[in-house]
């Protein structure tokens, strides 16, 4: 914050950062909901989607939020009230925290950590606690089943996700997300420095595994057994209504944005533009837009897959994680490490 002419006190910085995180979380999530959930899926099904609220239904999201806010906040009689009320907040809060170490520009970062990617992945796995709390406190067998399935699934896919990231970390030689962006910006692809070195060139296996694991972490089709509507009503969200359901909804799409941002930062070069110096101050303005564009690309793939494939079975899901993804990522780590040391 030394580059700013005005000195902002610490509490002021904290407020600004909180507002910044809220904007960074809600803008991509809202855009994704409108562009992908409302429109793209409709086009896939040969319909137009919402068209009445605003031009081409662009205000539909506000109408939905208004609808959710009007609904009664129901809590089942047998529920563990405090835990039940707390669960969606835990889920949303962890998603917000994932955005903290993600850099949007040379100084446009909410908190710079030397172990940024570690923090992001560690924090994102806390959301399983919120989901388990929701499932257990609802006093509903569907919720409990959904919560347990979600716990098993999130734990199983946390591992391939972390291992997929390890390849990038080895190649960049740092856990700092800003450092990973800088490494992708400065390195050359076999001596050709035209577009920097986005790690998707060498870590495409890691990117594929990361996206598959992200899909499972988001509990989206084809890995949506925790909320499988034909088996479990809505899984751990069954008993939620109104504002608390809205929080789960925001959490789901904000998490999609968080994983998309992580994938863009780790594999696609992050906020950096290949021909612009990393310390250029304009990148504090352009960088967020660059990252946003990459996030939207990644989210397109995420939602494209989500709306194309049918649901897997629970045992297929677990087998896929433990017997396919984890060996692949381990092999990827070994190859990356060997190549890194040899060359």
């Amino acid at each position: 914050m030394t580059t700013l002419a005005v000195v902002i006190p610490y509490w002021g910085q904290s407020i600004l950062r909180s507002l910044g995180v809220a904007a960074a979380v809600l803008l991509p999530a809202g855009t994704a909901v409108y562009v992908y959930l409302f429109k793209m899926v409709s086009f896939m099904q040969s319909r137009l989607g919402p068209m009445e609220a605003g031009p081409y239904g662009s205000m539909q999201l506000f109408a939905e939020v208004g609808k959710f806010l009007q609904k009664e906040d129901l809590i089942p009689r047998g529920a563990d009230r405090r835990i039940f009320k707390l669960a969606p907040i835990v889920v949303v809060a962890t998603v917000f925290l994932v955005y903290v170490p993600i850099p949007f520009g040379p100084f446009a970062v909410f908190g710079s950590y030397d172990t940024g990617i570690f923090l992001a992945l560690a924090v994102s796995s806390i959301s399983v606690l919120g989901i388990l709390m929701a499932g257990w406190s609802s006093a509903n067998k569907y919720s409990l089943m959904g919560g347990l399935r979600a716990a098993g699934q999130l734990l199983a896919y946390e591992l391939p996700m972390v291992l997929a990231v390890v390849g990038v970390v080895i190649q960049a030689g740092t856990l700092n997300l800003q450092g990973i962006v800088a490494a992708q910006h400065s390195e050359k692809i076999f001596g050709w420095g035209g577009i920097g070195y986005p790690y998707v060139v060498t870590q495409f296996v890691g990117l594929a595994v990361f996206l598959i694991a992200a899909q499972a972490e988001l509990t989206q089709t084809p890995f949506d057994m925790p909320i499988a509507e034909s088996e479990l009503v809505a899984g751990y969200m069954t008993e939620y209504s109104g504002f608390r359901f809205l929080l789960f909804f925001i959490g789901e799409f904000a998490a999609a944005g968080a994983f998309a941002a992580l994938a863009s930062t780790l594999f696609l070069g992050g906020w950096a533009l290949p021909w612009v110096s990393l310390s250029n101050h304009w990148m504090n303005v352009v960088g967020p837009l660059v990252l946003f564009t990459k996030m939207m690309l990644v989210m397109f793939v995420i939602f494209w897959v989500r709306f194309t494939y049918p649901r897997l079975r629970e045992d297929q899901l677990q087998r896929f994680a433990w017997k396919v993804l984890i060996p692949i990522t381990l092999a990827n780590i070994v190859v990356t490490a060997v190549v890194k040391v040899v060359f």
Partner: protein, 167 residues
């Protein structure tokens, strides 16, 4: 050429659907749906929209009410003396219809009543816009059911060589 895996083919199908839906109308694109309140699709002639009643054909035989799986038809009638057909004959006894209601909140549009009616008193109409804010208003009485007769399409021409109905 190696076989394209089904997973990729599926992605291709959904992407092709996006392209097809977003393509301008003049290039043969567009959605399969219409924006209902602004644009209306004409239902097929034989669509099962609403059941119309031709009251003068009804003989209060109750076949429709008894065959209705949902018991959504309510019929009441009484017997009346009608003047004899020929001069000096005995007065005839005819059934008069007091009440003929169909509760469309219960009706499941199976059409058994239309099939079973021996006197051509019930007809299908393709009209479908009769939703109501209050569920009780979905009980259509015989005057309302009679009004639907205007929307019943003409019966199609009989095939060549078909038996004409004998009177």
């Amino acid at each position: 050429m190696p076989k394209v895996p089904g997973l990729l083919k599926g992605l291709g199908v959904t992407f092709a659907a996006i392209v097809q839906t977003t393509k301008p109308k003049r290039l043969g694109g567009g959605a399969a749906t219409v924006q209902y309140p602004h644009v209306k699709e004409a239902p097929p002639t034989r669509a099962r929209g609403v059941i119309a009643l031709r009251e003068e054909n009804c003989t209060v035989c109750m076949l429709c009410a008894r065959s209705c799986p949902d018991w959504c038809i309510y019929i009441e009638g009484h017997k009346e003396k009608a003047p004899p057909r020929r001069a000096g004959g005995k007065p005839r006894t005819v059934s008069a219809l007091d009440r003929f209601d169909i509760d469309y909140a219960l009706c499941m549009y199976c059409g058994i009543c239309v099939e079973v009616c021996p006197f051509d008193a019930l007809f299908w109409s393709p009209e479908y816009e009769y939703s109501e804010p209050h569920i009780a208003d979905l009980l259509h009485d015989k005057s309302k059911l009679g009004l639907w007769m205007e929307t019943v399409p003409e019966a199609p021409e009989l095939e060549v060589g078909a038996d004409k109905k004998k009177k």
